[in-house]
Amino acid sequence: MTVIFLILAVLTVAGTAAAMGMRNAVHCVLALTLGFAGVAALYLQLDAQFVGFTQIMVYVGAVAILAVFAIMMTHSPTSVQLPAYSTHWLAGGFVAAAVFAVLAWAIRASAASAQPLPPQPDIDVQQIGDALMHRYVLPLEIMGLLLTAALIGAVVIAMDRKEEIK
């Protein structure tokens, strides 16, 4: 447990907690982004460069923007602000603590946590690329095909819209 880990953990937890507690929806998304960035930094601290940068690229760069756009498109600033907190915070806290306790107990009692940790392998991006291109090439190709189809589909949908309105 190093100092850097503690700082990052506090940042992440504070960000995600603020995302649940803040009243303004856009503030919530920005706080959540801080949480995403904290998680990415935690990955980087574990020397998982690929996962860390992908986390920043996907969550900070795309998901946060998507969420913000969704809020702006649906949320009118003049609408009545509903209270963000539930009034039954005691019950909520109890449920949260119970879920945490069950999860912690399950993890402690499982067979996987009893085994000693294997020596940490030194994985770099080159090896991830090799694995994706050789061993897991079929899943990768299927994913690529699916995503390309989705991309082209999005373009086609955007193109058709103009004709309909006319």
Binding site: G61, L151, V155
Partner: protein
């Protein structure tokens, strides 16, 4: 002698670190390198503002700045003093915290991108395995800062500007990344240093830069178009179109914060140009084998200045695009071309070396380019425009 001149900054850093105790050396080395980047690139920004105003002035048949210093060279200093002494006005309805954070996030992201750019031989701040990935990850946070600026100002113009900017940046990030993939395929590495080393050899006097292959040339062209759009420069400067939405997302910023936005935008432009140099133009390597005696960092900055000059030239020449034209260009032309380019790069890799490979790949790229241009042109029916989003 040539060797020493080439490595003079590396040697100077080693000497300087030698004076310090061993325990603080890694930290001191990092701080010194960061300070060097923090000094050099803002200086380049100052020079570029002068160059841009002078160049645009010449293109528009006027003189440009000529009152401060010889040839107006001290104009950036005057600008800096002016922006520092101006009052910092924050709109009363603005979201103060987010309004304050937006320019900081932008400049921070812009500076972070320089960490992986090899400026010269052995001159890179961090040589990481996932260098290109890092560059794009950092670049994607710029969009968030633009949104923060536009939203927190609580102004129609800034919100419209931010929406335009974010839509444009997301649209052009896709072809930009796809255009770099051909390089990663051929170099077999995501590390910027390894990519530059891959291009360092010479055949006769000519270098092995990726731009001198059909797919490399196409990739470079697509990358530069996308880079122009990413840095919100003319002809893609809709987010700050003065005649429509005044200054876009940073309209409510004044004084030093406005200067920070300007700095962030230019730093972003330099960083993407630097990445283009690294990926396509051989990084710090010399354009001819008999010119290798000139230090590597001089070549990097020479190439950077050439690209900046091209950016200024384009800004002075082309009119601004309309929003639908901008989106159509990205999704209907640049994106398909980038996908075809990837295919051609694969074919190039597996064909035997020789002129036939050149011919086949050039035809495979030129044909879709022409066909796509003509089909898109024919689809345009010129008629009275109907506005369906505004009355």
């Amino acid at each position: 002698m040539t060797q020493t001149l080439d490595q003079i900054f590396v040697i100077a850093l080693q000497r300087l670190l030698g004076l310090l105790p061993v325990a603080v050396r890694p930290l001191a080395s990092a701080i010194l390198c960061v300070v060097a980047i923090l000094v050099v690139f803002p200086l380049l920004f100052a020079i570029t503002t002068w160059l841009e105003r002078k160049g645009l002035g010449r293109m528009q048949n006027r003189l440009g700045p000529n009152r401060t210093g010889p040839f107006g060279l001290l104009q950036p200093v005057a600008d800096a003093i002016k922006s520092l002494t101006k009052e910092d006005i924050v709109p009363i309805t603005a979201d103060h915290v987010v309004h304050f954070l937006a320019p900081l996030v932008l400049v921070m992201a812009a500076f972070l991108a320089y960490a992986v750019l090899p400026i010269g031989r052995n001159m890179v701040l961090v040589n990481m395995n996932a260098g290109v990935l890092f560059f794009f990850a950092v670049g994607s946070t710029v969009e968030l800062s633009v949104f923060m600026a536009g939203w927190s100002s609580r102004s129609k113009y800034s919100l419209l500007g931010a929406m335009r900017a974010v839509a444009q940046m997301i649209s052009y990030e896709v072809p930009m990344v796809l255009a770099t993939i051909v390089i990663i395929m051929e170099a077999g590495s995501l590390s910027t240093v390894a990519i530059v080393e891959k291009q360092a050899g010479y055949t006769g006097i000519f270098p092995h830069w990726f731009v001198f292959t059909p797919w490399g040339f196409m990739g470079f062209a697509l990358f530069m178009i996308a880079a122009t759009a990413e840095s919100n420069r003319s002809p893609f400067d809709l987010p700050e179109g003065e005649s429509e939405i005044i200054a876009g997302y940073y309209i409510e910023y004044s004084g030093f914060k406005f200067a920070l936005f300007f700095l962030g935008e230019y730093l972003g432009m330099f960083a993407t140009s630097g990445l283009a140099i690294t990926l396509f133009l051989g990084g710090w390597s010399a354009p001819f084998s008999f010119l290798t005696w000139i230090p590597s960092y001089a070549w990097f900055f020479a190439k950077l200045l050439v690209l900046i000059g091209a950016f200024i030239w384009i800004r002075g020449t082309l009119p601004r695009l309309r929003m639908d034209q901008l989106m159509n260009l990205a999704w209907q032309y640049i994106l398909p071309m980038a996908l075809i380019n990837m295919l051609v790069a694969g074919i190039w890799h597996f064909m035997p070396v020789g002129p036939i490979r050149w011919l086949v790949c050039s035809v495979l790229l030129a044909a879709p380019c022409v066909v796509l241009s003509f089909t898109l042109k024919r689809k345009k029916r010129l008629q009275v425009r109907t506005y369906y989003f505004a009355e």
